[in-house]
Symmetry: C2
Subunit: 397 residues, 2 copies
């Protein structure tokens, strides 16, 4: 049994705010400050260059990676931290493409996060070998897995609708057709149980600033299935992925397993904040998180649908297809979300018409959900969102 | 006139340590702690997702980039922060190669940092178009600039010997032969004056954890010459390099100028530490730094050569060819460096036989140099470095 009141107490949550945007940026774990201060003063300040050994900075990317492995059903020793999710997408995709040199189709879906699609476009353009990025509707992915496809690159949970793919079924079908899979776990790591090992996924990548609360711009992770790990081509072949980084050999020799997916010098300070955030995960497990998440999203859907008929549910009702967010379509969604934020209910807006609310059991409870429903109802029924001051579209939401 | 006693007071330097390894990892600026704490508590903690606008996180990569532009002779608005140096090398190299599609040689030298060469190898292998990485001796670069060369990729100051290339002359010769240039400023940014604009360099990249004191694993930077900026191909085409990142368009459209060299979500916490470190640079300028650096390295060379004939100078005596470090060759250099570190003189060792000492006027003064000379002399003359306890080679120095 997880004590969710205890996990909630571990976070700093601003006064008067109901924070339903942890699917974009998780809140500050209270003890992250102290951890960062220690890393800066006792490690960087006192150990200086010797911190790479003495403070274990050099092994930090795999040590932290192992803590995430536990949350995504990965084998220990097969997840490493570094870079950003976009870079990790490129790295996984390049390796996956190299495993299927005679095929030219990269299959993805329109629910994938744009940066994943953009990175694929950039890679294809640079490679110049006539690869095609085939983007289909999320519901049509399965039917488009054919012997023509080199790589299937999918984000498990749609960032707009919260719709969740069936990783196990899609991966199995992909493998039956000789397709290599790249799974983006941006909206699943820390949100829903993931079973990379059980699904036999080939590559997986994800970010840590959403449900894992690592802080703005926290480092990404990459997983490579153990059966590929010693053979995967590291297109981004940096010195810390070398078998002997400090031998300063003239030529690259990839390190063993996941080590080869390291690139440059690890972001020590950012990893310290993330490592602190991961401490909170020792107080719970993914089944407990999932059960609470579904209770919260069910409660929210029921409350909003009862009071706000103008909002159209975009998230699947079926638990098996739902991530840890709830999205509603509303033509004036941008303005409405601005009005909600002004009232302290922080969700976000995603073009063209999605109002998005994330639910993270670590710090969101029933009373938050009920308070949010009350405010949303008040705003929607009083058309507050329609006031002129909310009509201007800001650059960033 | 720079008050170097005042700049030194801005750093935390451990008791009993003479830190001559700022060319590997700069020390902690005292006020970086407070800045980080504010960024975590007042920005991340209180603003949450709204920090991207309210705290200016979204513009942080170019705002910090402009502070570095000033130190490397770059035009404002043409440097952006992010990722690691290895990633930025890949990005610059990919763009440079695309500008010379009919040529197949990438020219570099054996004094380049291995990760740069490794990244080039990985890129070439992945691209699979028969490019050749031609690595020549540092002294032979100029003679190897021919019409066959697509890209010249050079680190301005050799990480082992401290030998400095003539950026202006090599770039001019490169351009005369239609060669695109990529300059790695890892050992020059904050160490010696760089004039990217005057040299008409095409691309430049660098890290910020050495002479710029941004902290372990601090973000890298990339510069693109304004005449290429709106045409450069971003092979790593992430969403934050898109012309309209928050429109979530299905296809990539590169942003204007240097913006397109952004990739993923910026590392906000790490950039806050770096931004704090850059405050100290407002107290000085590169000519003042350079003048003091040469005084310090001259003083160190003279002192060591007078007392330690077994150490053979590997750094050029000629000021025009010297970076801000001094290296000596010594067969038992690894053991000797371990002995020095045990005595509080922190330099580092680079295989096969280089003992390396960095001099950073911001916090190293004449008394440090004299004290270091005395200790090195004592260690070398007493063969302390030859004791068994220093004979074991550790994994990382």
């Amino acid at each position: 049994m997880t004590d969710f009141a205890a996990t909630k107490a571990r976070f700093h949550l601003p006064e008067g705010v109901i924070y339903l945007d942890g699917n974009s940026l998780g809140p500050l774990p209270r003890h992250a400050q102290e951890r960062m201060s220690r890393t800066m003063q006792d490690e960087w300040g006192e150990m200086l260059i010797t911190g790479w050994n003495k403070a274990g900075w050099m092994d930090q990317p795999t040590r932290v990676g192992d803590r995430i492995a536990r949350l995504i059903g990965a084998e220990p020793g097969h997840v490493v931290m570094g870079d950003t999710l976009s870079i990790k997408v490129y790295q996984a995709l390049a390796s996956a493409i190299a495993m299927n040199p005679d095929r030219r189709v990269i299959l993805s879906d329109s629910g994938n996060f744009p940066s994943d699609l953009y990175m694929a476009e950039g890679l294809i353009g640079f490679l110049g070998k006539g690869h095609e990025l085939r983007v289909v509707a999320p519901e049509e992915v399965a039917d488009n897995i054919t012997d023509e496809v080199a790589v299937m690159m999918i984000t498990e949970v749609d960032y707009r609708t919260g719709r969740m793919h069936d990783m196990k079924a899609l991966t199995a079908k992909a493998h039956a057709h000789g397709v290599v899979t790249v799974w983006d776990l941006a909206h699943t790591a820390g949100a829903t149980p993931v079973d990379l090992r059980g699904a036999n996924a080939d590559f997986a990548v994800g970010c840590t600033y959403k449900y894992l609360n690592g802080g703005p711009g926290a480092p990404a992770f990459i997983y490579v299935n153990p059966r590929h790990a010693d053979a995967a081509l590291p297109a981004l072949s940096g010195w810390l992925g070398h078998d002997a980084p400090f031998a300063f050999e003239p030529s690259y020799r990839p390190g063993p397993g996941i080590e080869r997916m390291r690139v440059g010098t690890p972001p020590v300070l950012a990893l310290a904040a993330l490592d602190a955030a991961l401490d909170i995960w020792d107080m719970t497990d993914m089944p407990a998180i999932r059960a609470r998440s579904l209770e919260l999203t069910d409660r929210f859907i029921a409350g909003i649908e009862a009071a706000c008929p103008m909002l159209q549910l975009a998230t699947p009702r079926d638990h098996a297809q739902r991530g840890s967010q709830v999205s509603f379509r509303f033509a004036e969604g941008y303005a409405a979300m601005q009005a909600l934020i002004a009232r302290g209910v922080i969700g976000d807006f995603r073009a063209p018409d999605i109002m998005r609310f994330g639910f993270t059991p670590l710090y969101i409870d029933d009373s938050d959900v009920d308070a949010a429903i009350a405010i949303i109802t008040d705003v929607m029924q009083n058309d507050l969102w329609d006031r002129p001051e909310y009509k201007t579209r800001a650059k960033v939401t």
